[in-house]
Amino acid sequence: MTLRGAAWALLAILPGGCAGAQNALGGEGAEGSNFVQLFTVFMIVCAVMYVLITAGLLIALWRRRQPLTVEDRRHHETSSAIRPALIGWTALVVAGLTALTVASFFTDRSNAANSASPKLSLTVTANQWWWDVEYQSADASRTVHTANEIHLPVGVPAQVTLKSNDVIHSLWIPNLAGKQDLIPGRVTDIQFVPRKTGNYRGQCAEFCGIQHTLMALDVTVESKADFQRWYEAQLKPAPPPATPQQLAGYRYFATRECSSCHNIGGTPASGQIAPDLTHFASRRSIAAGTLPMTRANLARWVADPQAVKKGNNMPTIGMTDAEVDSVVSYLETLK
């Protein structure tokens, strides 16, 4: 491949990183869009300055092509154009910096205003290597507990309290806002004001161990009505198993290793140290964005999680195929 070909290929890939579910220039959230605007201002100002400087440099090099005469060296008379040029240049720089400062200031004000009065409150607790998500409510019985996904109603400011159970993680949902660390022993927070509906992808942005790369988050921004519908569905306990195979899977889940760690509301399985699975089948992905939610992937995950996400805290139990099938059948009912 020639150097030229490589350059064109790179240019072709770049826009790909700027579109889609994990896009820092997406601007689908208030903070994100503020960032994009600020980024644009910076780009323009800096580009203009860059062009001017480069032009100046090129002109200087061009004019320098003429050989120096002895007179030129001895008599450096200041050209009459230098003084106003310098003043003009300083003014340009000042103007540019002022523009950048003012833009930053207003961006900051806007972000602060957006986060001033949140209407929705959630807590995200990072674990190795999954996200625990809890929606607060003044009515304690209406708190929602889920994992590896966040649903947000469009246009509603949300306050997210961030905690960590083990090491430092960082929450980054590029389309909506910037990064914020989750630090064990401390409480940090971040605010979102999503402006466009859609499915986005969040990511852990601070190296946190062997599976840091497979610690993603499904973010869904939806209309207020859809969000309410989702919220009400989350409040319900899991439906009882219907078929014999689902019943076998339910029994396995409730009496074997699964219930040591996982919770399914309305069943005897009330483990608190692994993702809450009450509405597991309604999620888009398995294991914090590792695999898309399909029956085949579920079977793959349940049978041998260590092969999929080596080193994570869910052990490979060594279930028989029949056991895997029945558990997966049961898990699929958890919508």
Binding site: Q136, D139, A140, S141, L235, G271
Partner: protein, 614 residues
């Protein structure tokens, strides 16, 4: 310059370390705070009949006075008290149950394996008439948070009624020791056990479960005394239909009034593993036909996992004994943060009102450090005052009835909050106080313990602990770990207080002779003057005392004092379970405050009976 500064700092540091690390000796002896009130509360007459010389239930009577009307032994002659006989149970776990005496027979109830011995008091040395060995499951010991103890049996109608650690209630024929019925009520697979002494009244046997540290859902059940069949069961969490809250229910304060609060004041499904067990004391008013009892802490200890007020834990219920329907409930400690159960004894007294009338009241020194006086008809607070050092709460709002927590003492995940007073056993744990109608004072054996607490996410696995907290306890201000307080409930203050080195885990006994008896964790059984707390007599028994002393009239007409001696329970676990004092968080933090106990006492299981000579 820098060297001098460093030296100075080093010196200051050394002095500070020296000052605060050595065991500070505290002043022993009695502190007197003034006279007791002339107007006295009176034990509820219907609930406290005249003393017939027997002791048929741990609380002595339905009003839970633990007061003996016998007056042969008095301050003038108590110095001559000596051992009449002893009886060894053969067990070495915490010995909490009082011996019962009915006529010529004494009944001794041991901790697991919950054997009962009937002793013939007419013969010298009190030989055994019969032994009842119920053989409860040994596995139950693995889910009993605070020792495989038993708080006593009850004698009624020729039978003994008691609970077994593995969740059964039994009725035993008192003359032969033959088991009449056995009913299974609790499931050790879920972490439930039963340690409490039942209450037998109105043809019912009232039993509550234990397991607030095991993610157990609490309840109080009533069995028919004749057949052992379940009459009703009232849960401490969950929907109103299961908590037996219906049209008769009127809460004294709005915080406790509403529909299905046992569900709504929890996160979804959390009430099913929420605690509120009933492992303590029940009192009964035969006129109002109401039983009064408290519920345990909510589970887990880590309060961040269970948002809401967590009803109906850490509060007091009044229920109709026939149907179990709740009449009122008052939550002493909403959204409990510190394991402040509310199962302590509830004494029923008639209260001197402002215009000279008598208000049917209940008085209780609660675990959260407050002494409550409430109208027992409706639960309204008549007065509430701290009887110990408290910094975890700022007080009780008398308008709303709500406890006001101190925000800076709230435990948070990932960090440690220090110097929280009172600690998890509270200002006083299960060991009940006694009331003397002669002095009008409540004699409270209790604690002076504070703690550091760190909380973290607790995992729930049925049959295992559901706690989520690391605790280290230590002595509170003053350096004494225990205190014996004579509290005047009418004047609302202390009359005298005895500082004790070790935590006080034994109940108290008051007698008409003007004496009060209690025991220490290193085995000293003490008699003090009921008016001023002066120590009049003491005897060193073979093991620490955490059991209820009683007084009875023997077949020979003489007054006897009996006390079980055998250290254990939560406070004595370091000895009875042979724990390691190098881990300060052992026994849920208690080991840190009883590190020296192994040097001061050993395990035991003996009843001591004392009498005057001749």
């Amino acid at each position: 310059m820098a060297m001098i500064a460093l030296l100075a700092m080093g010196l200051v540091a050394a002095v500070l370390i020296w000052r605060f690390s050595r065991d500070r000796a505290f002043e022993t002896g009695v502190t007197n705070y003034g006279e007791s009130s002339a107007i006295k509360a009176v034990p509820a007459p219907a609930a406290s009949p005249a003393d017939d010389g027997n002791w048929t239930m741990p609380g002595k009577d339905y009003a839970s006075t633990r007061f003996s009307g016998l007056k042969q032994i008095e301050p003038a002659n108590v110095g001559k008290l000596g051992v009449a006989f002893t009886f060894s149970t053969g067990t070495t776990e915490g010995f909490e149950a009082p011996p019962l005496v009915v006529g010529p027979t004494m009944y001794v109830v041991s901790p697991w394996p919950n054997n009962v011995f009937a002793l013939d008091l007419t013969k010298p040395g009190a030989p055994t008439k019969w032994t009842y060995e119920p053989k409860p499951a040994a596995a139950a010991k693995g889910v009993a948070c605070c020792g495989p103890v038993n708080r006593g049996a009850v004698y009624s109608g020729g039978r003994l009624y008691m609970n077994l650690l593995d969740g059964h209630t039994v009725a035993v024929d008192a003359s032969s020791g033959r088991e009449i019925w056995r009913t299974k009520l609790a499931d050790i697979q879920k972490g439930e056990t039963i340690t409490m002494a039942p209450l037998v009244a109105d043809g019912k046997v009232l039993v509550g479960n234990s397991g607030g540290e095991m993610g157990v859902r609490g309840w109080l059940a009533a069995l028919d005394a004749g057949s052992g069949k379940l009459a009703w069961k009232a849960y401490s969490t969950g929907p109103d239909s299961e908590a037996l809250i219906g049209s008769d229910y009127r809460a004294p304060y709005s915080q406790d009034q509403g529909k299905d609060l046992g569900v709504k004041s929890w996160g979804p499904e959390q009430w099913k593993i929420g605690g509120g067990t009933v492992w303590g004391w029940i009192s009964y008013d035969p006129e109002l036909k109401l039983i009064y009892y408290g519920t345990s802490n909510p589970g887990p200890w880590n309060a961040e996992q269970r948002p809401g007020d967590n009803k109906w834990t850490a509060g007091v219920f009044a229920r109709d004994i026939g149907t179990g329907q709740a009449r009122w409930f008052y939550q002493s400690t909403p959204h409990d943060l510190f394991d402040h159960d509310d199962i302590n004894e509830i004494l029923l007294v008639d209260w001197p009102g402002r215009n000279g009338q008598r208000i049917p009241a209940l008085i209780r020194p609660s675990r959260n450090g407050y002494f409550y006086v409430q109208d027992r008809r409706n639960g309204r607070i008549l007065s509430v005052d701290p009887y110990a050092h408290i910094n975890a709460y700022k007080g009780v709002d008398l308008n709303s009835g709500r406890l006001i927590p101190a925000a800076e003492k709230e435990p948070k995940e990932g960090r440690v909050v220090r110097n929280i007073c009172p600690g998890p056993p509270g200002a006083k744990d299960w060991n009940p106080s006694a009331f003397s109608p002669i002095t009008g004072l409540v004699y409270i054996p209790h604690l002076n313990i504070c703690m550091d607490m760190g909380v973290k996410n607790a995992n729930y696995i049925a049959g295992t602990p559901f706690v989520g907290a690391d605790v280290k306890m230590y002595a509170g201000p003053g350096g004494n770990r225990g205190a014996f307080t004579a509290w005047d409930p009418v004047a609302r203050r202390k009359v005298f207080e005895i500082k004790e080195d070790l935590p006080l885990w034994s109940p108290a006994l008051a007698t008409a002779g003007g004496l009060v008896f209690y025991g220490t964790m290193d085995g000293w059984f003490k008699a003090i003057d009921a008016r001023n707390g002066k120590l009049l007599w003491q005897y060193k028994t073979g093991s620490g005392i955490i059991g209820q002393p009683i007084s009875y009239r023997g077949p020979d007409g003489r007054q006897y004092i009996a006390v079980p001696s055998g250290v254990g329970g939560w406070a004595g676990a370091i000895v009875s379970a042979d724990l390691d004092e190098r881990d300060p968080t052992a026994a849920l933090g208690f080991v840190n405050v009883t590190k020296d106990l192994k040097k001061r006492t050993t395990k035991g299981g003996t009843v001591y009976v004392f009498a005057l000579p001749g």
